[in-house]
Symmetry: C2
């Protein structure tokens, strides 16, 4: 019964704080699969996996550190955010169901409200009202708009007013997604905005694609930040190529791309299939993949 959890924190610059958050999670016995910060977003993504109860405890401990170390009143970054620990998605792994993930979100939400005094909004599969299914709607107005909005928008757990320094948190259950940034060879944010608008589904683009333009000044390039929420249908390479194509009409090329957190091996395979023009390539043709399965069948533990 393993579950994945990918909490996002509003800290991508102070490495000591990010490390303390990851260590707090690890101290509960959860597996830390990754902790990556982004300077411009001023945000970090922690990837956890383990037994459901262990992961829940790990998120709580990480949240304690975040609430004590991060002050949203002084937070500046390009990524929308409303809390020190901004969003906590639970993702079912093999052996757990979406219902399990929803229950984990409910238990963690209740504890965050009671133990940390954080207002908690359940979102996506854990949402209690339809208007909270979409994370972007839950976060609208961000930290600065919380006080005004909460008077009429009572959270699922915790107080009915924002935590003074840590804001509020969205806790939810969702399918796995790919978070991916594409840097464009221009400093003109309007190009990134036009590309994001063309690519994202809500304004006419690709199904399962969310996109935001980011003014990533420290890099000398603007960024289109993508979420692929249905990558089995709209694959990573297809989204990247649509960004490339849309940017081209402004004479702008793709400088590089960047993965946020982890991605499923399916995305690696989709990318090879697409660019190598080999639509029938499968993981069964990958030596180490086969060996791991075979060695496992034989009761061995050595992995290549």
């Amino acid at each position: 019964m393993w579950i994945e959890c990918v909490p996002n924190f509003s800290e991508g610059r102070r490495l000591d704080v990010m490390q303390a958050i990851a260590e707090a999670a690890a101290s509960a016995g959860a597996r830390v699969l990754g902790m990556e910060g982004d300077y411009d977003h001023n945000r970090s993504v922690l990837t956890l996996a383990g037994e459901t109860a262990t992961v829940e405890e790990a998120v709580l401990r990480a949240a304690f550190v975040a609430v004590s170390q991060i002050d949203l009143r002084r937070h500046v970054g390009t990524h929308p955010r409303m809390g020190a620990i901004d969003v906590i998605p639970f993702i079912p792994l093999e052996g757990t169901s979406m219902a399990d993930a929803v229950q984990a979100a409910q238990r963690v939400g209740e504890r965050l409200g009671r133990e940390l005094g954080l207002p908690v909004y359940l979102y996506e599969h854990a949402a209690t009202i339809p208007q909270r299914r979409n994370l972007a709607d839950v976060r609208r107005g961000e930290f600065e708009g919380l006080a005004a909005r909460m008077s009429s928008d009572v959270p699922d757990y915790g107080p009915s007013s924002p935590h003074p320094s840590a804001g509020a948190v969205a806790v939810g259950a969702r399918r796995p997604l790919i978070a991916f940034n594409v840097f464009l060879n221009t400093t003109d944010i309007q190009v990134a905005q036009a590309v994001a608008k063309a690519v994202r589904n809500s304004s006419g683009g690709l199904a399962g694609v969310k996109a935001l333009a980011m003014d990533t000044v420290s890099q000398g390039q603007v960024q289109v930040s993508l979420n692929l929420v249905d990558y089995p249908k709209t694959s990573l390479p297809r989204a990247v190529e649509m960004v490339r194509q849309e940017a081209q009409q402004y004479g702008v090329s793709v400088a590089r791309t960047e993965l946020v957190g982890l991605m499923p091996v399916q995305a690696l395979l989709d990318t090879a299939r697409y660019y190598l023009q080999q639509p029938d390539l499968t993981l069964e043709r990958i030596l180490e993949w086969q060996l791991m399965e075979q060695l496992d069948d034989a009761g061995r533990v050595d992995k290549p």
Copy 2:
């Protein structure tokens, strides 16, 4: 002490023979990771892994079937070949060395000569003379030229004349390689020949790349058949893109590509790095990869 072995058989059309070969190998307890046939090449590639002694026995059993079922006097195909079981490379896996692979080649070579009456040439890391390091040199003249050539070129094991129906076999030890076919949108074999010549290292192309033009008539397209023998240096996407670039001067595009046998996960990663413009992508960013390592650390056996 696991080893990989990738014997090639001169049969890519009769599925029952290919299946009998794979079953013979499996009957010895070796893990069959793949068995793929190619109609035009009239050739198949069996991928085995297991304990060294088990894999050696498996190859012997597969060779018995091949020698009894395949008659080179009636074999037609585009791929160079000199034997029913044409080439037997042993490849060290983690925990085995190239010296172990050479010894496996020697033991199997000795038994193929003694038990099946096959002339055996040791090649590459197992070669006993420098002229036999390169497989293409060992196979020069193919099956039809064997009798004339063997009078002066005494094999390492077995008789000094060809097996009447099964020819001779090259047995060796080598590093892993990627065998890969690129189909071009033309029926003009001269285009494939020009591209192969430009790409292969022996005539001035990329380091670690071997290439042959193949008249793959059944597909309505010609083929450039590649071996990447040093893919950590000359990666799969780089070789594919050089083929694409060279074909373009003749107005010819890449129709599709095809993997022969298995490829290392490194090639999947190299492909994603190259086309996604993300040179620092690592396997640590792939969810299932991390989970397998983490689950393994925890002493679990479930794999995603």
